[in-house]
Amino acid sequence: MADQTSQTRAARDGVGYWKANLRLIIISLVIWALVSFGFGILLRPMLAGIEVGGTDLGFWFAQQGSILVFLALIFFYAWRMNKLDREYGVEE
């Protein structure tokens, strides 16, 4: 009986863990797409008014800004997930 309860709890936690992970992935990927496809390409005309070193912000995002955001995203995700692993007790 006790064994069964712990099993259902583990299953429920497993679902919660996966949902939290998916939420984090979706948020991160929205930012990922926004800085590259968004600011770097499609939304560039909107940012044309903001000058950066002889050109506009969209050019900066396309050549450097997006890369810096990608880096931040990966480290944020790794940090957040490793914390999530411990919260749900699923770490190695």
Binding site: R44, G53, S66, F70, I74
Partner: protein, 599 residues
Amino acid sequence: MDQFTINLLFVGGSFALYIGIAIWARAGSTSEFYAAGRGVHPVTNGMATAADWMSAASFISMAGLIAFTGYDNSTFLMGWTGGYVLLALLLAPYLRKFGKFTVSEFIGDRFYSQTARLVAVICLIVASVTYVIGQMTGVGVAFGRFLEVSNTTGLLIGACVVFAYAVFGGMKGVTYTQVAQYCVLITAYTIPAVFISLQLTGTPIPALGLFSETAATGGEGSVYLLTKLDQIVTDLGFASYTEAHKDNLNMVLFTLSLMIGTAGLPHVIMRFFTVPKVSDARWSAGWTLIFIALLYLTAPAVGAMARLNITELMWPNGTNGDAVSVETIETDPTYDWMLTWQKTGLLDWEDKNGDGLIQYYNDGSEAMAEKAAANGWEGNELTNFNRDILVLANPEIANLPGWVIGLVAAGGLAAALSTAAGLLLAISSAVSHDLVKGAINPNISEKGELLSARIAMAVAIVVATWLGLNPPGFAAQTVALAFGLAAASIFPALMMGIFSTRVNNVGAVCGMLAGLIFTLLYIFLHKGWFFVAGTNSFPDTVDGSLFGIQSTAIGAVGALINFGVAYAVSMSTKDTPQEIKDLVESVRVPSGAGAAVDH
């Protein structure tokens, strides 16, 4: 000491270092040959992956493509870094948890099908061989220059070196050698960029120099580097550097293809099997991208500054003055680089109108036609400037000291060699481990497996060299095709394998085949069958192409087809068995990950 001797010293010295490390860490068992016994720290792994990843395409070719196109080729920068986000979030931790040696093993087990595994192996081989063709192009350019021979001879010598080198050790030799290679290549890329940035803008950090003002010349007052560059290139009838000239659809699809392809290439994914823990797999992707970003943030600066330097060298008196004279090119030491590169056949000029000057301008531009007629110009006289030589020629163009030139030659070869070796390893393990041991002869001895791995390497390099003699594009463009193929075939299967419990064996096989065949056909229709020039049915331009999409950007569409077909077929066939659902659940949580087990 002349330049040839200096180059030889730098290239020879760096090779001695790599070979020394390879001997020191010679692979013994098959498990070490593939995955280095899983004892690699995330930072070390990140550095090695970065070296593995940054190939001739990144080092030799990319800045040249950016230099001559400007903003439009930012797609390479975003595409080849953005893929790491996908890798870190969607694949790496789960594949590490799964704990097998190769990508196709995961696909075979998850989709409980030998057919799925075989199809995955075929996809990997097609993408990897295309990738190696691009590397061989870069190897040819680098060897051609530093041995001062023709491009073709350089390519043949390079092929022998790459083969000898890859056969020497497995992953373990390669992991530590690649750390050394990373150090060589990043130093080689950064040092000339710093020098040039200081010369042009007074800023020691090239990434910042790109957006800085140029060091004031002749009381004109200072002007931004990019503004100046835009001015000079448009004066000569070329498209402006910072504006967009390509349609959004192609830019987005091309970037997406490179991103998805990054997360679907076997030699990169394999790296994440070799870290000790799932949490390390997450960090590893980040470390890899840091080491990659060091080069990628510098690359656009290298491109823009080189373009400015070249244009000013061709027009020493300004774009309204006289162009450089043939006599100056032949006698002035500042132009020596043009004479040495002419020997490789990758750079050439011709005084078409016989005025003793070499006019470099865009003869396709209507606006220039009038000016050309008024001045008696009869077409662009800098007749050939291969994009792939730009980075290697860059220190010579900027008149930097001889040792910098030698260092760059060593760096370019390090980049091409490390990736070619990593890819050959991925190809050989796919053939020997998945094809021979997994399907043809499961009882093969360890010795037989190693032998078949080496035969596969030899065949792959012969094919790649043969195709590399007449490549379908500049190094980075050929490599982009390989990414499209990986994007359309492998990535969707891996992602669905982790994020869906519903996609089954039949669905995955149909999806991969649909994605691969569609993409391959589209590429062949535009680039020629098996990349043989002249056999294409459509011109490889945006306007002439079949769907208005360039062949380099089609991988993203192939990936969508793969997802769609796999899902539709899965929904109309039998659900996955319970043990597969359990397997997927277990891959999703890190706990319980052991060391990888061999089949």
